[in-house]
Symmetry: none
Subunit: 200 residues, 4 copies
């Protein structure tokens, strides 16, 4: 039992460190983020962090990969959603914009990795795999929408990929807080990418 309690406490502390890392890395970059600063922001010592993560590289990897897995479910939820294809796309955009608006730290970390994909090949690879899983799923829904006459008929995969780029750009460029009206605008504009048939 004690085992379990300890284990849980350990996981919680690990999580706290990871959370701080997710915030710090995109703000200051990999080399610009020091154990010392990270530790101070957590009220612990630098050496302690290394009890939870073998090295700075590992901390970075975990800070990138673990949240990525956690986002997989909500990000891909639209695939099993209810309603017409267009409805599902609309609600997906809604989810994505919301994620972009309120998880800017992690999104920024993703972009940091993508921007330096040569430097962080393993992490970037995981992102591209994620992007691919995502676009494959989205392509299906788009194709359904086109078949149903809700969307104009463009190359569905192209559209999916374009939308993925768009959502990344939105997260990158906008730094406003989640309550800003800009996010609403991005929602409306994003929908156009799918070329919905006008008189819907």
């Amino acid at each position: 039992m004690a085992r379990t309690v300890n284990e849980q406490a350990r996981q919680e502390k690990r999580e706290l460190i990871l959370q701080a890392a997710v915030t710090a890395f995109p703000e200051n970059g990999f080399s610009g983020t020091t154990f010392a600063v990270l530790a101070k922001s957590l009220g612990i010592s630098a050496a302690t962090i290394l009890l939870y993560f073998e090295s700075k590289e590992e901390l970075f990897r975990c800070a990138v990969l673990e949240p990525l897995e956690r986002f997989r479910q909500p990000f891909l939820a639209f695939m099993q959603g209810e309603g017409t294809p267009l409805d599902r796309i609309k609600s997906m955009i809604d989810v994505h914009i919301r994620i972009a608006a309120s998880n800017s730290s992690f999104l920024r970390l993703v972009q940091y990795v993508l921007g330096q994909h040569q430097r962080f090949p393993e992490e970037a690879e995981a992102m591209y795999r994620f992007a691919n899983d995502y676009t494959v799923g989205l392509t299906t829904v788009i194709a359904e929408g086109q078949a149903a006459g809700q969307l104009q008929s463009y190359d569905a995969h192209e559209v999916a990929w374009g939308y993925f780029c768009f959502i990344q750009g939105v997260g990158l460029v906008n730094t406003d807080d989640p309550s800003s009206p800009v996010w609403d605008g991005m929602r409306r504009v994003g929908l156009q990418l799918f070329a919905p048939v006008t008189n819907q």
Copy 2:
């Protein structure tokens, strides 16, 4: 004369260093880019770089700001272009995608700065100013296109900003070489953002 020759030679060398910096910074980040590596890639010594730039910070600033100014003209050229609004938008997208495809280094540097805007406030500020100049101009053209019935009537500024995000995302996510067909796809998808009236 000698003066001029020397001055010109100096500028050329400076340009070479800047070019290398534009490539290296986004690949390895600010701290990850060392004078030593930069110098070796240029076949000169690290100390020499410091004859042309006072410090690493200055080198970075110049690597960001000078190309930004150089891109201003082609990036904004669409505003004075010929043809219908839709034609001008199409050719603008063409230019942008071409820039994104072949100047990925600089675009990546832009994104690096935007992603770490707290760390590089001066540089990020310049980018936001640029983005603003750009979207203001684009908003006008979009409004013209809507007035002419070529584009569906959405909030023109929102569309402009959304497109700006899109083009950034495209540059960020795609790492393929300029001849890849993916760029063509992005061109087609990007146009949808403007919601062109279907039977055009």
Copy 3:
């Protein structure tokens, strides 16, 4: 307790470093004294020194100011001494010559700072304050000696200042070890500065 032990150990180590600095700085100058050499002479690493002193400037400042404070007491002890003014002056000279003979490192450091007072204004300022405190006290004793008919009547402050110069010069010019007879000579000569009445 552990706290106390650690704190004490820390102070002791700090003291060792300071001691080495007091020796090294006047021998090789500020720039000529490197962390590497200092560290090697202490059998530690250069980085360790920086755990105890924030920078080379701080190390220098502490090496100058802390011993200065420690010398204050013995240097100024003559003011509260017993005996006639002349006796007190004689014993003061004795103390000073002894200090000069056996603390040549620190005295040399003082002179290094005075010689480069423009470069080390803060440290030099402290020395001038010390010199002033000192001459003010000495002036009083001299005046007493003059009133008592033990010393000829010259401007007491001038004499005090002149003696201060003398003792500095003695420390600067003589490099012999403390057992050399030269120090005894300086003791005798120094006394003359006070113009003692002959048939005492």
Copy 4:
């Protein structure tokens, strides 16, 4: 002829550099004095200085040794002077104080070398030789003064050496401009070192 003219111009320029060095070295120390700063203060380039002096070490050596030779004559002039021994000593003090007051740069350089005699053994050696020549001559005059009943009878060489220390200390500690009254005081006090018989 051209030869001679050039040679003379060369000597003049060399002299200018030396002059700047004599000022700069004691102000900033050996390592703290850079060719760049020296050159800028002269309105020439750093490389030019090296056309006149082989290395920084040589420049330093010349800056120390050449003025030393030039001071030899006035410094030792008292030995051939006219008048009673006491008169000659008085006028010597006068000369020395004047030198100390108006050639503080060089005096400070001397002290810099003496203070770091282990670092600059050759230059320090020359100074000690100079000091010795000087004290030997002064010892003779003092002995004459004592024989003539003008000075009390102390060990003449001790007195000479003590005075030499004094004059160094005076130059070191006082930073006032030549017109300050402090110098006058030092003149009066210095004389006491020689223990003049009171009713003179």
